[in-house]
């Protein structure tokens, strides 16, 4: 009986958990983008939104921990599934023709995911760790106007901008498979709605990463 070990210890349970955390991260990414994009047209609005996100106790002490859990969970579960799936084919084929039956994106989620993980390391080093240090270790007084300046400094370095762009290309590839795959894992498949979900997923997977690339390039070019 599956119920003896619980549904989340089963193959389907794990993919459902993977899909739910993915959908949560997809929503988060949209919110993150919405705030960042304001930096390209309004310094004031960007500072105001960033200050709100950085000081609101609900965001800081409820939503932020949930987000960190979601990110960590998605990565760890991704590694667990990859390890189990590799074990399911202990002896590899000599010759495979994956392109004949599936997309590159769908077969390489672990690699696009690892690039995104490496990017998150850089991103935490750039923003999250200095932010935590600023607020909760050094106890600096709140400065509602510092965010925009901090952002600009990060995008002066062409190597960092290049790494950001590469990461967002991989994120786009990850989402091109992941968005619609999450719905399939949840069993949400319907003759009428699935084609719409697939189109929406493709639009999201291209527009959002392209938007982040635009923001990075926008500030870099302005810094020249």
């Amino acid at each position: 009986m599956a119920s003896k070990s619980g549904i989340f210890n089963s193959s389907i349970g794990r993919k459902v958990a993977m899909a739910l955390s993915a959908l949560f991260l997809i929503i988060f990414l949209l919110q993150h983008f919405s705030i960042n994009v304001t930096s390209t047209f309004s310094e004031e609005l960007f500072n105001e939104l960033s200050h709100f996100m950085g000081t609101n106790p609900l965001v800081q002490f409820a939503l932020q921990p949930i987000l960190i859990f979601g990110v960590v969970f998605h990565f760890i579960m991704g590694f667990v599934l990859e390890a189990r799936n590799r074990k399911a084919r202990a002896v590899k084929y000599v010759k495979t023709a994956g392109n004949a039956n599936s997309t590159w994106m769908s077969r390489n989620m672990i690699w696009s995911g690892l690039v995104i993980l490496a990017f998150l390391g850089l991103h935490f080093y750039d923003f999250w760790i200095p932010e935590m240090n600023y607020k909760y270790i050094q106890f600096n007084p709140a400065d509602p106007n510092r965010y925009y300046e901090e952002l600009l400094h990060k995008f002066e370095d062409p190597i960092r901008v290049f790494l950001y762009v590469i990461s967002f290309v991989l994120l786009s590839l990850h989402l091109l498979h992941g968005f619609q795959s999450a719905f399939q894992s949840l069993g949400a498949r319907h003759k009428k709605y699935t084609p719409v979900i697939k189109k929406l997923g493709n639009i999201y997977a291209i527009i959002i990463p392209a938007g982040f690339v635009f923001i990075a390039l926008f500030h870099y070019i302005n810094s020249l």
Binding site: L81, A88, T103, S185, L186, G187
Partner: protein, 256 residues
């Protein structure tokens, strides 16, 4: 009779004495193969050649040679049942290949499908998944209700029948990068889940079959769609989504 020129081919075939042997690819030449012969007939010619040379013929599964039994397997040039859509190896014809081609022939690769010999794998894991719930319990005492007396929506009947066309060949497992059996199991779950007769045991069925599938060591589905693309019977991913729904609702509501 075709007058097309015979094909000269180089075959790289997986040879493995038994489950304990490590196995290796070996190279053979066959010549003047008729483009109209089936892939299995080409293998028969290779085997006759090997026997004449005093060598061990290549072991491979086959039975009906009509594309309906699910016996034949073979991973040909990196694809289950070789090139082409909706085809079993017995229905694959040599006209799909060019003169001078090198063809790689391997067994299904999955931890849950151990190699018995050469290209023959043990697919009894599928049987055990079926035994865990791939049936309906019907009283055969003599007063069984006529199935036609129970109304079934046409679309459900069609979808159930489409799921039931699965021949259990294992191409889905062989094609999946994760060696997942979800297309097979979901077809078997769906064929019953769509009909009134399957409702009585629906919850236990999906829970038990998925549990057995996991025990056998098949991988997890990551929705690449390779199974559907390579399935000789065109079993749809729709079935996997249905199984996911059935499993989730059974997992949450079943009291067992």
């Amino acid at each position: 009779m075709s007058t097309a020129k015979g094909l000269d081919l180089t075959l790289k075939v997986w040879r493995q004495k038994n489950q304990n042997d490590k196995g290796r690819m070996e190279t053979y030449q066959v010549s003047d193969i008729s483009p109209d012969s089936s892939f299995l007939e080409m293998m028969d010619i290779l085997n006759e050649q090997l026997i004449e040379e005093g060598k061990e013929p290549v072991a491979f599964d086959h039975d009906c040679r009509e594309g309906i039994c699910g016996s034949c397997s073979m991973f040909i040039n990196g694809r289950a049942h070789g090139p082409g859509k909706r085809v079993t190896t017995c229905q694959l014809h040599m006209r799909q290949f060019e003169d001078g081609d090198t063809i790689h022939i391997e067994p299904w690769r999955a931890t849950a499908f151990p190699v018995i010999k050469d290209l023959v794998v043990d697919r009894s894991s599928f049987d055990r998944v079926m035994a865990a719930g791939g049936f309906i319990s019907v009283n055969t005492s003599g007063n069984t209700q006529d199935a036609n007396a129970i109304p079934v929506e046409k679309e459900d009947a069609d979808n159930s029948f489409a799921a039931a066309t699965c021949i259990g060949c294992g191409a889905c497992v062989a094609s999946c990068k994760n060696a997942s059996a979800m297309l097979f199991v979901s077809a078997k779950v769906s064929q019953f889940a769509l009909l009134p007769q399957g409702q009585v045991e629906a919850q236990d069925r999906v829970l038990n079959m998925v549990h057995q599938m996991d025990l056998e060591g098949f991988g997890n589905c990551t929705n690449t769609g390779a199974c559907e693309a390579e399935c000789p019977k065109g079993i749809s991913l729709e079935n996997i989504a249905r199984m996911n729904r059935e499993y989730l609702s059974a997992g949450i509501t079943s009291e067992k």
